[in-house]
């Protein structure tokens, strides 16, 4: 029974996606309920996994293996460790929230929700796969529906049409995929035994030369999705054009697939390669943090602000990852979780504001807190998590990332810490421009607070930011257990070396 748990998580949204296609388009409520069931069905098993993960044993558990194409060494192999469980939890939360956020979606709801669920089953697939073939397959399932979701249901902005944004996003991510495919095949063909199994690949030590170049491919390939500079430019246009639930999923979960891929395929299979490139990764992450934050400061379109803040926060994720020590990588995974929840909340709220104000231009807003106090409070909580305020999940995550990087390359940590000021500037600027000051009501007759279904997801996400911020220990522990058995992430350092600065 437990063996099927992971497969269930992957198949539940997929099944709902197929069922949706068979429903008549007129049955609006039924469509929404099926979608909600498909999304929310993944939540209890994810929580169950988190509770029943054997913390003493550690490592990969809840394994299921089905031989698929034996002659090519392709196996359907799923298993999770603590780290993956955290990502499953995040995905389950965001998709459930995403369905709630699309409750009032009116245009071709059936197809929209169907594609959304298809996408998310791909995401779940990536997080549980232990076989590179399936990992890549699921990865593509997760990325491709985005083209239609933005191209059909998106909004055209002043700068780009929705079709343009969709195409740009898809092409750039496909470019990344091409690199990943080459890397996977390179690994596959350099083993005597033909296998895609990541457990077996991790035991093989590839030559340093090979590790160096293949890791670079993996880093760049997955990095595009993680929004690394200078390949982040799909993200602002894509997020600005995408409908609410899609932005939530994309920034909340999909971008994490990139970082997750670098960690699982890159660092874990090619530890030496990761070591060789860690400085470059750190430098790019630092650029992401500062550059993304500065860009966010210069935006006037609300969605662009949030999109650039994602670029900046993904920088923190990659910074922690680049430290290659358990403290930083733990922070990186915590930041993935924290940013996923936070940005999901942001995009849900931005959707609400846009729906009522019919504008996303923050320079023309002001005093909205009078009409939408609840939204203002939730946005502030999200903002506080965004600039890493203690008692929100953002703090422990950022602190671990900075500390991890400090132990490896203090100079990069030193620079990236400046990001906490710039982040505070743009977050407070946005909060002030939208919610505070003299009410600017004449132009906004439809302004009102959130209602019923809109509360559910947003309040839950905001509450989670605080709960995890106050009691981070269970999650940190879960992630730590996963990292302990990840090659390439080591505590190893010479005894007595107390001040950082290289191995």
């Amino acid at each position: 029974m437990t063996a099927w748990m992971l497969t269930f998580i992957v198949l539940a949204p997929l099944t709902a996606s197929i069922v949706l296609l068979m429903l008549p388009a007129a049955r609006g409520l039924a469509i929404r309920l099926v979608a909600l069931a498909g999304g929310a069905a993944t939540l209890p098993p994810s929580i169950w996994l988190a509770l029943n993960y054997d913390r003493k044993a550690g490592g990969f558990q809840f394994e299921q293996t089905v031989s698929w194409v034996p002659s090519l060494g392709i196996t359907y192999h799923v298993a999770v460790d603590g780290l993956s469980i955290v990502m499953l939890l995040l995905t389950a939360l965001i998709i459930t929230g995403g369905v709630f956020a699309s409750w009032t979606q009116k245009n071709r709801t059936k197809e929209f929700l169907s594609l959304l669920l298809l996408l998310v089953s791909g995401v779940f697939g990536v997080f549980v796969s232990r076989d590179l073939f399936f990992l890549f397959l699921f990865y593509e399932i997760a990325v491709l529906p985005m083209y239609l979701l933005i191209g059909v249901w998106g909004t055209t902005t002043k700068l780009r049409t929705k079709e343009d944004s969709a195409m740009k996003l898809t092409l750039m991510l496909m470019g990344g995929s091409a690199l990943i495919l080459v890397a996977i095949l390179a690994l596959y063909f350099s083993m005597d035994q033909r296998t895609f199994d990541m457990g077996l690949l991790a035991q093989h030590s590839f030559s340093p030369e090979m590790q160096r170049w293949v890791f670079l491919l993996v880093y760049l390939g997955f990095g595009v999705l993680a929004g690394i500079f200078p390949f982040h430019t799909w993200s602002p246009d894509g997020h600005a054009s995408a409908p609410t639930a899609v932005s939530m999923l994309h920034a909340g979960v999909l971008m994490k697939l990139g970082a997750y891929g670098v960690l699982r395929v890159g660092v874990a299979l090619l530890p030496q390669g990761a070591h060789d490139w860690s400085f470059l990764m750190g430098v790019i992450a630092t650029i992401n943090i500062l550059y993304g934050a500065c860009s966010a400061m210069g935006q006037t379109d609300l969605k662009y602000v949030i999109a650039y803040s994602s670029v900046s926060h993904m920088g923190v994720v990659m910074l922690g990852l680049a430290s290659l020590n358990p403290i930083g990588v733990n922070g990186s995974v915590m930041q993935m979780f924290s940013h996923g929840i936070m940005t999901g909340l942001f995009f849900a709220l931005v959707g609400l504001i846009y729906e009522r104000a019919h504008s996303r231009d923050i320079t023309r807003m002001g005093g909205f807190a009078r009409k939408m106090p609840g939204v203002a409070v939730l946005m502030s909580i999200g903002g506080m998590a965004s600039f890493g305020l203690p008692a929100t999940s953002g703090f422990i995550a950022e602190f671990l990332c900075f500390y991890g990087m400090w132990l490896r390359y203090p100079i990069l940590a030193l620079l990236s810490v400046i990001g906490i000021v710039i982040t505070a500037v743009y977050v407070l600027r946005v909060v002030q421009k939208i919610f505070l000051g003299a009410p600017n009501e004449e132009g906004y007759p439809d302004l009102r607070d959130a209602r019923t279904t809109e509360w559910v997801a947003t309040v839950a996400l905001a509450a989670l930011l605080i709960v995890v911020g106050v009691f981070p220990r269970p999650l940190v522990r879960l992630v730590d257990l996963g990292l302990r058995q990840t090659p390439g992430v080591t505590y190893a350092r010479g005894a007595g070396a107390v001040l950082p600065g290289g191995p």
Binding site: F435, Y491, G496
Partner: protein, 686 residues
């Protein structure tokens, strides 16, 4: 009973939750202060019941996050783990050592009085429960900060009080000025926090522990040379850099030059908030932090003189002096007090700059007395503003005057506060200011002699003299403020018809007036304060009769000058008759604000716009450029796929001929079949 001290920060959090709930449902909002007040008082009582004794500090703790290399390390005794790979273990808790205990009492008592006062002050305001929710959250954060026994919790509390300050300054969020001030306060202090965060990272990476005691031990070990430091910094750099990075945090939080600019703007918040946060407690957090970690600042001095202490002292003296000159020319009563607070915080830094237990005691002593009389002063200002709230600008002292007869309780208590602030002999401010000047000047060899590590003598001398000048200015502006407000004839209708505030507001004034008078003497007598802080060892006395006389004379001279100038309520403010450039300098706030707002704030926003433009026009455009190149290449390639069989055949023949020619040529030149031939052979074999 000891374990109950864990509740000290938790009770106000619970009360904040209740108040927040009332604020959300918008019912029974008036009940909010009952909960928050009860929680605050209970926290204070818990502290009183657990007074630290000689060598005993009540302590409870719980692990918060553990990231340790191996599970075996979990069983290892707590403490620094030198030689082990770096892990991270955070323990949060409540520790009541003398320093913390004093702060807990200050925070709880001022907070409770401010909450009582606010029942009257905020009675007519919307968002009553929200206000108490924020106040309780602030109290909890501040209690968490002062009861920390490790850097991590200190930092957490530090950030949380900052955000509570943001919320309370922006309490009237619909006023653009309040919203701006709140943002400014948060961002400017955050500026300093970058340094603080880096200091924490630096110290923790060396000490491998967040605990103060472990950090001290590691720092000492580095100073001794028994602990190696390698990497980015040398041991020498580490020794001065670590305390100065921490000091950055204190500069922001305690509004020291040049990051003091946020505090006067923070007066946009409700006045009781200014009393609690921006006078008595939060702004003193920076001073508390330096006092708490004074060992780091002093140890580096070794046997001789220390650069870190010099910096603390100079910074304090500059702040004290500049802020006092600005306070002299302000016409907004709260601004006078804000600059006065900055100036007094500078004083505390001068005291701390002496280093060691001496400096710690002097700085903390002034912190405590200042908390009493400055909270008092702000609350009296609030009482005045409350009485004048119909006026166009209720804070403007030029439209006050003559309130003495209309508001006797306020006027008398304010007078007590003013005298205490000015250092009138035997009032509380006199003792603590005297202590600071004494230790500073004794370091310079005047009025006695100081032993041990400390700042350079000439620095101490300059800063001590600056302190004396600032003391004179303090007395002048104190007298000016009180006389302009309460003396003479009313200068506006509102002032003429003002009424004394209700008892719920005047009682807290008297409650603070008593310690403003007596606390100095009671604590200074027999070195009681020093003995308690140092845990039983009676410190050497720094009292010096000659200095006391000099300081009293300066205070009385200042008060006298103020009285002389303002007692007859001149129509033109005498300070405006200062020489023009001097007045311009003072009234333009020494151009520090202008530098930050015009230079840094606008500059950084413009930089943000520039980066945004760069991202779109260069980075993104180059991505589109690549797409364009591919498109052009595809258009070019399209011509080759023309569908004409003749062309295909011609290319095929030409290609084959070319390959054969090349292979032949290669064989002729090299003498063996080339790689192309090998490949062809391989393909044929397949």
């Amino acid at each position: 009973m000891t374990s109950a001290i864990g509740l000290i920060p938790i009770l106000p959090v619970a009360a904040a939750a209740v108040a927040g709930f009332l604020a959300i449902i918008r019912k029974a909002e008036k009940a909010a202060p009952l909960f928050t007040l009860a929680a605050t008082l209970a926290a204070g009582v818990l502290a009183l019941m657990n007074m630290p004794g000689a060598g005993i500090a009540p302590h409870v703790a719980a692990p918060w996050v553990n990231l340790i290399p191996t599970d075996a390390a979990l069983a290892a005794p707590p403490g620094p783990t030198h030689g082990m790979p770096p892990g991270l273990s955070v323990v949060v808790g409540v520790t009541l050592d003398p320093l913390s205990w004093i702060m807990v009492l200050v925070v709880c008592s001022v907070s409770a009085l401010v909450q009582i006062y606010s029942i009257g002050y905020m009675a007519a305001e919307k968002g009553y429960a929200r206000y108490y929710c924020y106040l309780a959250l602030f109290t909890a954060s501040m209690l968490g900060l002062v009861t920390a026994d490790n850097l991590f919790q200190l930092y957490v509390g530090w950030e949380l009080v900052g955000v509570c300050s943001y919320l309370l300054i922006g309490f009237w969020w619909f006023k653009p000025s309040a919203a701006n001030a709140a943002k400014k306060a948060f961002v400017v202090t955050r500026f300093g926090d970058v340094g603080f965060m880096l200091g924490v990272l630096l110290l923790v990476s060396v000490a491998q522990s967040f605990k103060f005691t472990d950090v001290f031990a590691a720092y000492q070990a580095v100073a001794d040379g028994s602990l190696a430091v390698h990497g980015l910094f040398s041991a020498q750099t580490f020794l001065w850099l670590a305390p100065l990075l921490l000091l950055c945090g204190a500069i922001g939080k305690s509004a020291q030059f040049p990051l003091h600019v946020w505090l006067p703007d923070a007066m946009e918040g409700p006045t009781p908030v200014s009393a609690l946060i921006h006078a008595a407690t939060m702004v003193a957090a920076g001073v508390y932090m330096v006092a708490r970690l004074i060992l780091l600042f002093t140890l580096q001095a070794g046997g001789g003189a220390g650069a870190a202490l010099d910096v603390v002292m100079i910074l304090g003296a500059v702040t004290a002096l500049i802020a006092a000159t600005i306070a002299l020319v302000q016409v907004d009563i709260k601004k006078v007090m804000a600059y006065s607070t900055i100036s007094q915080l500078g004083y505390m830094m001068v005291g701390l700059g002496v280093g060691g237990a001496t400096g710690q005691v002097a700085g903390m002593f002034h912190l405590v007395t200042h908390a009493c009389f400055k909270a008092l002063l702000f609350l009296t200002a609030g009482s005045v503003i409350h009485a004048l709230h119909h006026a166009k600008d209720p804070n403007d002292m030029r439209s006050m005057g003559g309130l003495m007869r209309r508001m006797p309780h306020t006027a008398i208590t304010c007078g007590i506060g003013v005298l205490a602030l000015a250092g009138f002999p035997l009032l509380s401010g006199f003792w603590s200011k005297d202590a600071i000047l004494a230790v500073a000047l004794q370091r310079a060899g005047l009025f006695g002699h100081a032993a041990g590590a400390g700042p350079h003598a000439h620095v101490a001398l300059a800063c001590g003299v600056a302190g004396l000048i600032a003391a004179f200015l303090t007395a002048v502006y104190s007298a000016r403020m009180w006389l302009m407000t309460f003396w003479g004839k009313p200068r506006s209708d509102e002032a003429a018809h003002a009424h004394e505030s209700p008892a719920v507001m005047t009682l807290p004034l008297w409650a603070l007036a008593i310690p403003s008078v007596a606390a100095g003497f009671l604590l200074a007598h027999g070195e009681r304060f020093a003995t308690f802080v140092l845990g039983g060892e009676p410190g050497p006395s720094h009292e010096n009769m000659a200095l006391s006389i000099v300081a009293s004379a300066i205070a009385l001279a200042g008060l006298g000058l103020g009285a002389l100038l303002y007692a007859r309520c001149p129509a033109v403010d005498p300070v405006t008759r200062l020489p023009r450039p001097v007045y311009a300098l003072f009234s333009n706030l020494w151009y520090v604000d202008a530098f930050w707002s015009a230079g840094v704030a606008r500059g950084s926003l413009a930089f943000g716009r520039a980066v945004a433009w760069f991202d779109r026009s260069v980075i993104d455009a180059s991505m589109h450029g690549i797409a364009w190149l591919v498109e052009q290449a595809a258009l070019g390639m399209r011509r080759s796929v023309s569908g004409q069989t003749q062309t295909y055949a011609a290319v095929l023949v030409a290609g084959t001929v070319a390959v054969v020619l090349l292979m032949t040529l290669y064989e002729q030149v090299v003498g063996s079949p080339g790689p192309a031939a090998a490949a062809a052979g391989w393909m044929v074999r397949r």
